[in-house]
């Protein structure tokens, strides 16, 4: 029979039983939980204060294997992949020949010639095109590998209770093989929240065993199943962007101005211009590096007192969105457009309305006063805001 339903993840049996508001979101063709509770607060705070368990199985995953696996990733992405050690994870973007971002994700060096690449969108065609003549196999394993993102300051304690080997020594952006509840897993010290956190990768048949073991061991440490809406707030605080929300893939853009370079997205640190040999986009990126970028993604902190004034005029207290807003908002200086905010959210931790914004030169300098559009009782208004450094929030334990 024809089935047009979205796919479910290997954790669906557990997540669907817990999802009180039936708040489901579509992610790369799968159902995932938007929020488990009717109000996001507890889930958000689990990320920042205890231990959040997030089903991230829909992440697109490729296993890249073979003698030339490193060479392929070295060629396609902006990182120096040859320098990566086994057990190392690297965050990277990849570009087209014009140095414009196609997608972003992490490269994990599982073995000397075996890598896992995650992506937001399908990239098989692009990877295959670049692998012509190479001794490499590229296999999509999205359906077979279940993934949990385990985020928050208590996650290390919980993992240590449940893993065969302790995770104390696992450094930021490193991975290890381990066992949970007798099941083989790979644990990487990575995440999308800017807090202490891990991502746990396992065969889909083992998914529930790992979920159950974590939920049980974590109960004394405030473990909380968390949906992607709360994660969306945390990732803005962490200054992390999202494909199709904060930038458009060069392979999907209709017009030039929709494209972004890694420099424009603040990814300077991932572009290894000093690495040997050719990589896709190299020449364009070198040129941009020399000449400077026309745009830059920065943080905006909206001035609360200014918001209060604008809302006060109509007799209301400031209306705060309950979750992150994925919509473009014009940013101006002196009434002239100088850019736009692509995601904005209330930060429950910072008690500030914050946004990821793309600003034109020279307005992206830290400390610049700008205004961002907000809607006050159906009227468009410009709220005062300041350009601030990203991330908005970085706890000391994130990398410790």
């Amino acid at each position: 029979m024809l089935n047009l339903n979205l796919k479910t993840t290997p954790f669906h049996e557990r997540t669907s039983a817990l999802c009180q508001p039936q708040n489901w979101r579509k992610w790369a063709g799968y159902f995932v939980v938007g929020s488990y509770e009717h109000v996001l607060d507890r889930e958000y705070w689990a990320i920042r204060n205890s231990a959040a368990l997030i089903d991230v199985s829909p992440l697109i995953k490729y296993v890249i294997k073979g003698k030339d696996a490193a060479a392929l990733l070295h060629r396609v992405t902006t990182r120096n992949v040859h320098k990566m050690k086994v057990g190392q994870v690297a965050y990277t973007g990849w570009c087209d020949e014009e140095g414009k971002m196609i997608d972003d994700g992490t490269i994990s060096r599982l073995e000397d010639s075996t890598f896992r690449l995650t992506a937001a969108e399908p990239n098989l065609r692009w990877l295959t095109m670049n692998a012509v003549g190479m001794d490499v196999s590229i296999t999509e394993v999205t359906d077979d590998v279940a993934a949990l993102s385990f985020q928050g300051p208590n996650t290390r304690k919980v993992l240590n209770k449940v893993t065969e080997k302790p995770v104390d020594e696992l450094k930021y952006f490193r991975l290890m093989t381990n066992k949970i509840n007798g099941v083989d897993v790979t644990i990487s010290r990575t995440g999308y929240t800017g807090d202490l956190g891990y991502e746990i990768w396992m065969d889909k048949k083992d998914a529930l065993k790992v979920w159950d073991a974590l939920m049980e061991s974590g109960s004394d440490y405030g473990i909380t199943p968390v949906g992607i809406l709360a994660m969306d707030m945390a990732r803005v605080e962490a200054g992390l962007f999202m494909l199709d929300v904060d930038y458009t893939s060069a392979s999907h853009a209709w017009i030039e101005s929709q494209k972004s370079s890694p420099f424009e997205l603040g990814l300077d640190w991932t572009v290894a211009l000093d690495k040997p040999g050719y990589f896709v986009g190299r020449r364009a990126l070198e040129k941009e590096k020399r000449e400077g970028s026309a745009w830059k993604m920065v943080g905006l902190a909206v001035d609360w007192v200014g918001m209060e004034k604008l809302f006060g005029k109509v007799g209301l207290p400031p209306q705060i969105p309950g979750s992150a807003i994925r919509g473009s908002l014009p940013v101006m200086v002196g009434g002239v457009h100088v850019g736009y905010a692509s995601t904005s959210t209330w930060s429950p931790l910072l008690k500030t309305y914050i946004a990821l914004a793309h600003l034109q030169k020279p307005y992206y300098e830290i400390g610049t006063d700008v205004t961002m559009e907000i809607t006050v009782e159906h009227h468009r208004r410009q709220a005062p805001a300041k350009v601030v450094k990203l991330p908005f929030y970085e706890p000391e334990w994130k990398k410790k």
Partner: protein, 533 residues
């Protein structure tokens, strides 16, 4: 400047003292905070009374902490996290319960189970209260003008309040006037029929007062507690990471980053007065510190009747401070638990760690009559036989508060009168603890077997430990005759005092208590405005 020479001396290292010091230091001033105890935090402290179990000894929830303070002092960078308290459970005497959630529809559905009428009235009530709170809120941020003064500043202030009042609709004005004079029981009975709902709502109208729900004026207190809910920033009560000590801890960290000097074990004996103005303090150990201004973050009685010789203050002022009502009426029971008590109204299964009920507040307030009876005992100097109890389980909100698998429980108890007939003794303190446990036992029969340690705090203990005269949690009841331009006393509600160079910025000042930080912030701003620094 020499070592003991400062721009400003702040007496008291509670959250208001630390806030004031931080604002002054932020303006480039040399500031010292003098704290009597070995730790800072005042009544907002977290202490490990039993090893591994952290108790938020006195104040235990946050709602009103001013968002501008959080931003100005960058408190999140210094560790502040306010975690949500998503629900309130009121177990009922008939074995049922009433729950209120942070989600509107869930609450409505729950209320509907008890009374369809109440479920509908609740919406409207919430709107009316929010409107009234909003009407009053801007006043909180103003420096209270003295209505009898002819000074330009006061007149402008009054004008602002007047303009603001004029902007309210006739209906809203009536609502505010009514709220100012009614009892919370009268107000609630106009709206609702469910006893547990009325009891729980009325309870927030008596917290920190020596009044019952049928006493006039309590409706305002109810409103005062409502204000946290309209901010947007804090839609409800929250629990600070690491308890209330987490709030003062983050302010302390901020103050350190700003270069404030904090001295603990530094008990102030007296404010030094020279030529009619405060010029420093003398500590109990004999040390002398000099400064251009002194601000007290202690309670009004200590501030004016103990630290300053009476000859420096006008008689009528002294009299009005003596008459300031600061009658402690509540106690606090902090309990270390080996497991969570199981409530018969909503038993948990499994190990209880995912119990919904324990994540929020549990309120023993089955009806208005119940609370009024508790007050009847207190009126004549007795501990309530069946007290009102507001319980939370901090370790269920912040798991770091207790060893894994174990828990801590915080019980705010009213009434426990400061002026207990016959006085407070260890035995009477045990009696208070027993009244609380026996009351909880009615709803959670296994409570006694869960207890591994218990700390009972009477108003006398609040006075002794936190140094608040009378042991009132707000440093002075939030009664209508003690708020706004009347707090702590008419004419001197602008953080200045009859003694030049001596300022007052604590919960006993406008706009009041509740881990708000506003008095400290506003006082610091007034100090800077006066230009003596």
């Amino acid at each position: 400047m020499t070592a003991n020479q400062y721009d400003a001396i702040i007496i008291g290292g509670g959250h208001n003292g630390l806030v004031a010091a931080s604002y002054l230091a932020r303006a480039g001033k040399k500031v010292v905070v003098l704290e009597r105890r070995p730790i800072v935090g005042g009544a907002a402290v977290t202490e490990e009374i039993f090893p591994g179990y952290k108790f938020t000894e006195f104040s235990y929830v946050v709602s009103l902490l001013r968002p501008e303070i959080i931003r100005d002092l960058e408190l999140p960078k210094h560790g502040l996290k306010i975690l949500p308290l998503p629900s309130t459970f009121t177990p009922m005497e008939n074995g049922d319960y009433l729950a209120a959630w942070d989600d509107h529809d869930l609450t409505r559905r729950e209320l509907y189970r008890h009374s369809p009428k109440d479920a509908e009235a609740y919406d409207e009530y919430a709107r009316v209260m929010a409107r009234a709170a909003k009407a009053i809120k801007p006043i909180i941020n103003l420096i209270p003008p003295d209505p009898s003064s002819m000074s330009i500043r006061d007149l402008m202030g009054l004008l602002k309040v007047g303009q603001y009042a004029a902007s309210l609709s006739e209906k809203e004005l009536y609502m505010v006037a009514k709220l100012a004079t009614q009892s919370s029981a009268d107000l609630l009975e106009e709206w609702f029929e469910t006893d547990a709902l009325k009891g729980t709502k009325a309870a927030s109208g008596i917290i920190g007062t020596y009044l019952g729900p049928r006493s006039p004026g309590t409706a305002y207190v109810l409103l005062h507690h409502y204000m946290g809910e309209i901010d947007g920033a804090f839609r409800a009560w929250g629990f600070a990471k690491n308890g209330s000590g987490g709030v003062s801890g983050s302010i302390y960290n901020a103050s350190q980053a700003l270069g404030v000097e904090v001295r603990v074990n530094a008990s102030v004996q007296q404010v030094k007065v020279k030529g009619g103005r405060a010029v420093g303090v003398i500590l109990e150990n004999g040390d002398e510190l000099d400064s251009k201004v002194v601000m007290s973050a202690a309670d009004p009685k200590r501030t004016f009747l103990q630290f300053v010789e009476q000859k420096h203050l006008p008689d009528d002022f002294v009299t009005s401070i003596q008459n300031f009502r600061a009658r402690g009426s509540s106690g606090k029971i902090n309990i270390a638990l080996s497991k969570l008590p199981n409530f018969t109204a909503l038993p948990y299964t499994g190990n209880g760690a995912n119990s919904v009920l324990h994540r929020g507040a549990v309120s023993i307030s089955p009806s208005i009559d119940y609370i009024e009876r508790a007050y009847d005992d207190a009126k004549y100097g007795q501990i309530s036989k069946r007290p009102y109890i507001d319980m939370i389980f901090p370790s269920m909100i912040d798991p770091d508060m207790a060893p894994p698998g174990h828990h801590v429980m915080s019980c705010f108890v009213q009434y426990a009168p400061y002026d207990l007939e016959g006085g407070w003794t260890d035995q009477r303190r045990d009696e208070l603890g027993e009244a609380v446990i026996a009351t909880i036992e009615q709803y959670a029969p296994n409570i006694r077997e869960c207890i591994v340690g218990m700390q009972v705090i009477s108003p006398k203990d609040i006075e002794r430990i936190a140094g608040i005269t009378g042991g009132n949690i707000f440093h002075g009841e939030l009664l209508l005759h003690q708020i706004f331009f009347l707090r702590p006393t008419p004419q001197w509600a602008d953080f200045r005092t009859p003694l030049k160079g001596y300022y007052f910025g604590a919960s006993g000042a406008h706009p009041g208590g509740g881990v708000m930080g506003a008095p400290g912030m506003l006082a610091a701003k007034e100090i800077l405005k006066d230009g003596m620094l």
